[in-house]
């Protein structure tokens, strides 16, 4: 890579950030009247995109390999405080997903939200897990999902003893490295002339991190079952230290 590469890279990031902002603006028509679609407390029965038609293997009977370390970078909590993402990814088993509050794709953010609720409900009922598990919803729409918007979005998630952090970033430039590090794609719908023409499009992914912020499982719409996720959380809890070393 030549010496001018870093500068070109920085320029490309600025260009992409501008493109992202433009796309967000173009998608503004999707915003629910009154501002933001407030989160709804769902039933525990999740209308998953794919029906689960199997009995999952028992927790602890299989390995969850280390896929990659979670990235780190500054995020904003609902009070607008700037904190490192690692504050929300290490120290507990963490289920993390990217959302944007105006997302209307039933198989996208709303599905993830409902699955998170279901997992949270089950974790809350298990005394061995309750204090060891955290949920994180991180917006990939920083232009619209301000801390205040995230606070409003989170309001429907009544406290039940299981931590659930609703986070956003200051600007796309802060978000991009996090998306990049997790491998969360975002496509901008463009018109025939290459201009942003629609909402953000993405393949829904949810990440399960161990207490050391290592990604151990990734779920998508085709395999997003609360029972499996809870089993995986229990599998991580059942790992003893020597076994963890072996897996690494």
């Amino acid at each position: 890579m030549g010496s001018s590469a870093p500068r070109r890279f920085a320029e490309s990031r600025r260009t992409l950030s501008a493109l992202l902002l433009a796309a967000v603006a173009a998608a503004a028509g999707d915003v629910v009247a009154g501002g933001v679609a407030a989160a709804h407390e769902p039933d525990d029965t999740v209308p998953a995109a794919v029906t689960m038609d199997f009995v999952p293997p028992p927790a602890g009977s299989y390995a969850l390999h280390a896929i990659m370390p979670a990235p780190d970078g500054p995020v904003l909590d609902p009070d607008g405080r700037r904190l490192p993402l690692s504050r929300f990814t290490a120290g507990k088993i963490t289920l993390l997903g990217f959302i944007y509050t105006s997302c209307a794709d039933a198989r996208g953010c709303p599905l993830a939200y409902q699955v998170f609720h279901a997992v949270r409900h089950r974790v809350a009922e298990d005394a061995a897990l309750r204090d060891r598990v955290r949920l994180v919803s991180l917006s990939f729409d920083p232009a619209r999902d301000t801390p205040a918007v995230m606070r409003h979005y989170a309001a429907a998630a009544a406290p039940n003893g299981v931590e659930w952090a609703f986070l956003t970033t200051e600007r796309p430039g802060r978000l991009v490295p996090l998306l990049d590090g997790f491998g969360q794609d975002v496509r901008i719908e463009v018109d025939a002339r290459g201009r942003p023409a629609g909402p953000l499009a993405h393949v829904l992914k949810v990440f399960l991190l161990d207490e050391r912020a290592i990604v151990r499982e990734i779920y998508t719409t085709a395999y997003l079952f609360p029972e499996v996720i809870v089993n995986d959380i229990k599998t991580l809890r059942l790992e003893d230290r020597p076994a963890r070393k072996a897996i690494r």
Partner: protein, 441 residues
Amino acid sequence: MHGNRIRAACAGVVAGLVALAGVAALPAAADETCNSPYMGNLIKGQEDYLYVWALGVKGMGDGSDKLVTIDVNPASSRYGKVLNKVSVRGQGEAHHMGFADDRRYLWAGGLENSRISLFDVGSDPARPKLVRTISDMPAKTGYVGPHTFYAMPGRMIVQGLSNTKDGGGVTGMALYSNKGELIATYPMPTTDGGDGYGYDVAINPQKNVMLTSSFTGRKNYMRALGDLVKDAEAMKKFGSTMVVWDLKAMKPKKVLSVPGAPLEIRWSLKDGDSWAITASALTSKLWLVKPDASGEWQAKEVAVIGDPAKIPLPVDISINKDGTGLWVNTFMDGKTRYFDLSNPEQPKQTYERVTGKQVNMISQSWDGTRVYIASSLLANWDKGGADDEQFVRGFSWDGKELKPAFEIDFYKEKLGRAHHMKLGSKAMKTAYGLERTATLR
């Protein structure tokens, strides 16, 4: 050079095949309906591009394996033309490809050099770029011949065909992160009826089932076909099993007996269906894999393809989006056949057409109205002389007739041998391509 060698090798091939009652083909999987279920962004409208992974031919152009991009949008002024080509270093028996789950990167393997090339197709879908080469799969895993690339969330399963110890067919799967880091390996089972061989991978998340099939090792697939078919011992070393895996645990649950090298695996995509179909190359049959009344997975023969005694050599297959029809290419007679799968227990051939002097790959658009066919099987197995056509041909399909739409002569264009095909779209351009590409370097 290739023409004379292959012509000589193939002079007695058909007779040899019949006499030995078997030979294996090395087809390839690919089309919009066979992508991993973890890929959420399928192209359900008009595709813009056809990516072709082509084998380099010594003395032809730069002689290297290359990824060729063809414009396949009829509305384009460059319809049916080569838009771009990206060469990789040397000839390594370019074979199969597979998209990562986000469709931003296309992984492509070489069966001879065991190299895996990662192309960025998200930053500019019309102009893929080579961004990483994985060269240490044999050293790190013991597996050789990366064949099938099957997307998992954030990861890629790479099915090997062979091994570093003896070049035979006992092999395994390697799991990589999307950034190309090795995560884990999974040996193909060699107990409880398992032969240890590998070929294709296909997943049904709803059932928590992964199916694998079986082919042969490097010593066979790199050998000149004319020699191979005369070696009775070598001809015994082809796979005869499929394996049902517990997907979550990544552990084999059951080995199914499927004689004759079962190759491509296609799950029905129709809601509620839970069956898959495959073709056995050596015995020229279709096999159905599904649970029986007690929920136990079984494989059973459901149809013959052509006249098995003439060894038509079924290679690639392509299922339509609702599981009601299946394309089958047969290499030796150059035919493209259509089977009605309305009753998957009794597939019926309803159409056939000679689409080339040798045909291997077949891909269809999501709606099934566009069909693409490519010619090459393996460098040492392709036909010789005038029969060694190397092409990509596009057809339209109205449910009754395949009608030629365009053709690219890969020899005339000095592109080599046309093998695996995947579809691309302008709409797959991503927002963060440059950043991700940077991390892969």
